[in-house]
Amino acid sequence: MTDTPIENIRNFAIIAHIDHGKSTLADRLIQTTGALSAREMTNQVLDSMDLERERGITIKAQTVRLSYRAKNGQTYELNLMDTPGHVDFAYEVSRSLAACEGSLLVVDASQGVEAQTLANVYQAIEAGHEIVPVLNKVDLPAAEPERVRQQIEDVIGLDASDALMISAKTGLNIEGVLEALVHRLPPPKGDPAAPLKALLVDSWYDPYLGVVILVRVKDGRLKRGQKIRMMSTGAAHLVEQVGVFSPKMIPTEDLGPGEIGFITAAIKTVADCNVGDTLTDDRAPAAEALPGFKPSVPVVWCGLYPVDADDFEKLRDSLGKLRLNDASFHYDPETSAALGFGFRCGFLGLLHLEIIQERLSREFDLDLIATAPSVVYRVHRTNGEVAELHNPADMPDGSVIDHIEEPWIKATIMVPDDYLGAILQLCNDRRGEQVDLTYVGNRAMAVYRLPLNEVVFDFYDRLKSVSRGYASFDYAMDGYAPGELVRISILVNNDPVDALSFIAHRAVAEARGRSICAKLKELIPRQLFKIAIQAAIGGRVIARETLSALSKDVTAKCYGGDISRKRKLLEKQKEGKKRMRQFGKVEIPQSAFLAALKMDA
């Protein structure tokens, strides 16, 4: 417990689109309040993973306590909650927001409001936040603060007349931001005498401390030595350490209402700590948990296989280590005739999938093949059974299927007017249903319902290409609906390549099949034998490409002095073939798999 009275605590989040300056502003706030010395400052202090820093995205929620002496002479405790900024982590974002009373809405004064900003700001409004609009990068020549201020009012419906004009980069008006936090955000409320209720905001694995849990105390006190209970599972743990982030970890005796901090309690894996759960006192438990808890459920699945079959165990270990720190992804062993031994992995979304893949290759030095991402279908059998399907290879025979349901999303796309036609066309091609279409100046905002499986299939790529990169996109899950879905198998010389099969709507199946056959024809190098590449639904071939045999491949001169070299070359060639996947007489290089299965992000 600090000496700060609850009236002097402010808990806030920063909402911003990628590159609009969230991390820079956070750095600047930390620096201005002196939480870190100049020597300790690195760029983007809060994004501790390399990947986070490089991609400018935050994966884990983090927090830092700032001590600010305001112009009124009082000292305030400002808790900055840095939240994951991507739709894949929408639930995690909502829990982080639930730990705060207000938000800074940071908008790039030249770029304006983007789709992702919208989704997050609506979440903040839903969480009951007081929102302070901040126009960043006002020092840039291209800045149009007035236009963007108007846009905030028009699009979001927020009063932006008091929007702060700042430049996080140059430090312009950072003081104004701090004052606004003190005066425009409400202090937290809470009853220190009530039974303990603390929101589990996030957790991560620390090799020295075990699992560290980030909490926001709502009522009661969280103390060292206290026995706490996770209300969703009933599991009890003894609190070993309590503290706050400065952003360094600083131990304290306890945390009171309104405070954000951490605890450790000899918990072995983050899988035991569900984001959104309520911690209470095991001996004097609260009657009911905090609202809004839901277990995390993977939305997108794909198979991950080591390129080198010998790396299977290494992959298993690496997945285990990643899961220590990220309970939201799931993995189970599976085998593929084409790719051998691997894992079926579930993710919160496409970005999440890509992050895990990239971390596996980067942090664990693994070469991986990922199969086409699949969404989770609900297969209703004729006998009334319903099963979830997340691997196209497991799709039962058509005769036992009554119908299949697929997940839908509600997508918000913001795009300059010039590209709207192309965007609408794209959404219609992807079976989209228009919900809303509004204009803000020369930018259009289209809201569509789309089947998620249309989005996992190169939707981002197309979106970016038809809008020349100007469209921004965000989505939220929007329930299930029946669809006419079929499995498309890819056959190479009549052998099905299980890893390439996918599920699509009947209306687009043929086009999709043709496109993947054509892609494979480009990607598979011509070989000794002619290769037939086919796409089929059940037994019916819907697309076919023929890759003709290579036309010439022979050494012109080969005499007595060339034999040794030629033999070694031949032996090397045989060795190289081991790294190819052999399908009958056909070798498909890894690169072709990777490229054929590559989805964008």
Binding site: R526, Q527, L528, F529, K530, A549, L550, S551, K552, D553, V554, T555, A556, K557, C558, Y559, G560, G561, I563, S564, K566, R567, L570, E571, Q573, K574, K577, K585
Partner: protein, 382 residues
């Protein structure tokens, strides 16, 4: 045992051609006497350990062996005939460039015992000769060929095709002119970019681009067609001859028989005490000569060839030939049954695709198979 083939390497050239990765060197002055003595000494050393065997052919290669003194050639032939038992009408080939200097020596080479020349014409197109860095003109080439045909019983010459920008029509026309000058043997090579050559540098920079894939295949097929109309059949990937006019010496390589290699950088496959050995001499002419002067030979590597290696070598050479690989001879030579050296499922697929023919006791590549031999080998070799 089949007769021995003897290869003698002369490592010097007037200039290095931009496509050539052979062991050739340009020197201001060459100590002919020293290299002649060293070649003779290494030949004597090799002959001593091989014992008295039948000798099937001698081949003077390079470099540019037509820059040798005819007396050196004569001395080496005399030595070879002294150490071994030559077969009747033994083939003795010398590679010659068609410059006027070298043509003047033709009579001397013939007198020394050379009965076959292989002339490095490379092209009959003046611009192409410049591109290929040749030291002779097209007219000189024609003159040298005419002289060679008067002097030597057997004459072959080389051409290089599939040059950058060469159309099929242009090549057919050039080849027809060449065929009119030909006797009974031609070597027709598709231009290949070899690592470490000047062309490799140019190709890496994108300054030269060779016909590839379908275009290269079309040129190859055109070549066989034109040669065919003159009665020359492709008995090997790049070699065309009237029946009976094949190079006896080169057949030894492709049939994977014993050959001894004398001179800088020369390779050999020789049976010593009943076991097959691969030999290699030092590449640098002066270092090689010093080694010979000190030890009697310039060998830098001599390793046994185990059956699996011998089998791969016999296949990669043998399938270049129209006649293919004889199973009985293969087994005798390599110590491995032909079937054991092959991935039989792939062989069957290749037969189905029309790349291979299997007859009792023989495996051969078809024309289509030879056109893709490198890929075919990688598929069928076990």
């Amino acid at each position: 045992m089949e007769p021995l083939a003897l290869y003698i390497h002369w490592p010097f050239c007037l200039a290095k051609c931009p496509y050539c990765d052979f062991n050739s060197h340009v020197r201001d002055r060459i100590d002919q006497a020293r290299f002649a003595a060293a070649l003779r000494r290494e030949l004597a050393w090799e002959a001593a350990r091989l014992g008295r065997r039948r000798l099937g052919s001698i081949f003077f290669g390079g470099g540019t062996p037509s820059l040798m003194e005819p007396a050196t050639v004569a001395a080496l032939i005399d030595d070879a005939v002294r150490w071994f038992d030559p077969v009747a009408g033994m083939e003795i080939t010398l590679e010659a460039n068609p410059t006027s200097v070298e043509a003047e020596r033709f009579a001397g080479f013939r007198a020394a015992g050379v009965n076959r020349v292989s002339v490095g014409v490379q092209s009959l197109d003046p611009a192409a000769l410049g591109f290929l860095g040749r030291q002779h003109s097209a007219d000189q080439a024609v003159a040298a060929l005419e002289l060679a045909r008067r002097v030597f019983p057997r004459v072959s010459f080389d051409l290089i095709y599939a040059r950058p920008g060469q159309t099929e029509a242009a090549w057919r026309a050039e080849l027809r002119t060449a065929l009119a000058l030909a006797a009974d043997h031609l070597s027709l090579y598709q231009l290949t970019i070899e690592p470490g050559t000047k062309f490799a540098t140019l190709a890496a920079r994108g300054e030269i681009v060779l016909p590839e894939g379908d275009a290269a295949a079309a040129l190859y097929e055109a070549t066989a067609e034109e040669a065919g109309t003159f009665g020359l059949a492709p008995y090997e990937v790049s070699n065309y001859a009237r029946p009976g006019a094949e190079s006896r010496h080169n057949l030894s390589y492709w049939r994977y028989e014993d050959y001894a290699g004398i001179g800088p950088g020369a390779h050999g496959r020789v049976t010593v005490d009943g076991a097959l050995r691969a030999t290699r001499r030092h590449r640098a002419p002066e270092v090689w000569a010093e080694l010979v002067e000190r030890h009697g030979h310039g060998t830098v590597e001599e390793t046994p060839v185990v059956p699996a290696e011998a089998a791969r070598e016999a296949l990669l050479m043998g399938l270049r030939l129209g006649e293919g690989v004889d199973a009985a001879r293969f087994a005798r030579r390599t110590g491995m049954a032909l079937d054991a050296a092959l991935d039989l499922a792939m062989v069957e697929a290749a037969v189905d695709a029309g790349y291979l023919v299997r007859e009792p006791g023989r495996l051969a590549a078809t024309d289509a198979g030879r056109l893709r031999l490198d890929a075919l080998l990688a598929a069928i070799v076990a």
